[in-house]
Assembly symmetry: C2
Homo-oligomer: 250 residues x 2
């Protein structure tokens, strides 16, 4: 289905609203889990650990997911404004996640626990570094004024693919962390359907649902942000330049 640049695909707002409802539910259920079964959150006590899951879920799941949706939601604003919002949301996500990482490393240090031995931690460090690299490369291609139009066009599909992949990898890493937190505390009680275990399983499924809905919105070809008049003109200029042809309507 084709849409004029001014129109918004009919179903898109409902899917975006649903994604936000799911994302906020994920954050709320994470808070409820930590509040009800883990004693809440504080920096200067053994509750410092709990800063980690909350910050990672807000930063690496909810805000990262929302940053990916910016180009589907802001369809008529100037491209540069939308880009800056996309970049800024990722900066907020990154800073919040960094606080979450500092919390867990500091907690481990105070308790004398080993760092970076588990699959969750290996995946976590890897995805966090990839997220940072993706941001830096994205910034230098799309916001820093140096990169040419053709370079941007060639890098764009890679940026989109790796952006979605890093987001999904973040969701997977969160599931691993949740599972680790449950097994460490509940142990064999996990199998007796303890309320904490059931709530955390539900949280895991909600995380998966948020990931799938964000991916679904990104994957719909006709929900993509339409290119605007100034971009079309730029694209035509570029085409003209590279093809050595005079600009004429085809």
């Amino acid at each position: 289905m084709e849409h004029s640049p001014a129109s918004v695909p009919a179903a898109l707002p409902y899917y975006v609203a649903f994604s936000q409802l799911l994302g906020l539910t994920v954050v709320a259920v994470t808070g409820a889990w930590l509040g009800l079964y883990r004693g809440g959150i504080a920096w200067e006590s053994s509750l410092q650990f709990n800063v980690h899951p909350l910050c990672m879920v807000i930063g690496m799941i909810f805000l990262q997911g929302d940053a990916l949706l910016v180009y589907r939601v802001f369809r008529r604003e100037a491209k540069r404004t939308t880009k800056i919002l996309h970049g800024l949301l990722h900066v907020f996500a990154f800073i919040i996640a960094l606080v979450g990482l500092v919390a867990v490393f500091d907690y481990h240090k105070k308790k004398g626990y080993a760092d970076l031995y588990s699959l969750h931690s290996w995946c976590g460090i890897l995805v966090f570094v990839l997220y940072f690299v993706q941001w830096l490369v994205g910034f230098s291609f799309f916001l820093f004024p140096g990169a040419s139009f053709s370079l941007r066009s060639r890098y764009r599909p890679q940026h989109i693919f790796f952006g979605a992949t890093i987001f999904l990898f973040s969701v997977g890493t969160a599931l691993l962390g949740l599972k680790e937190a449950l097994l460490f505390k509940l142990g064999s009680k996990y199998s007796t359907f303890e309320p904490e275990g059931v709530l955390a399983n539900v949280l895991g499924l909600l995380l998966v649902c948020f990931g799938v809905v964000v991916l679904y919105i990104l994957a719909q070809a006709d929900w993509k942000r339409p290119s605007q008049a100034e971009e079309q003109a730029l694209s035509m200029d570029f085409k003209t330049l590279t093809e050595g042809d005079s600009p004429s309507p085809q």
Copy 2:
């Protein structure tokens, strides 16, 4: 980049070869882990549990991933042959995964363990049911002769999206299972970098890499199977019918 129907994109064979190398490595490392640290595999003993991870990795990861790649690899064969191969690979994957599921339920029953309490098991049952439903719906739309061309065209993007999503969800579920198996057995020894823990973490990263490479191959728009002469003709007939226009070269 455009390709004529006869040509194969230059980089595609290397990516496919790499995916196969990764997939086989994942199966081999799973086998090595079970052989070296879990006493190997048998049906009639407590080794029955080990049938579960091996079958799930072969079925729900390796074969499912390869079934998704069929349309990128077989580019010149008749569409129907390729479809049948795609459907058959999924049948093999399903049967092998079913053996893996029977193994773990039977093992639990013999040992008196509870079923379906963990996040891994919830995700596993969900993804297995979704896989079965996706196969049934795919079969009735694309192989069963009833569905019209327009119905197939409308369902195709959904089938592709949910196929890729179910595959990625399977990878995530495998990671959860791996983590569960490690924490149940190693407990606090996991943090002392036990060789089994390190090998299993490497296996986890290999699973992620296989998932990413398969997704990357699927996501490249110009690596898609070109539509063949007979499909183009059918598509034109359909276009003609729906637009009420006479078939003429444009």
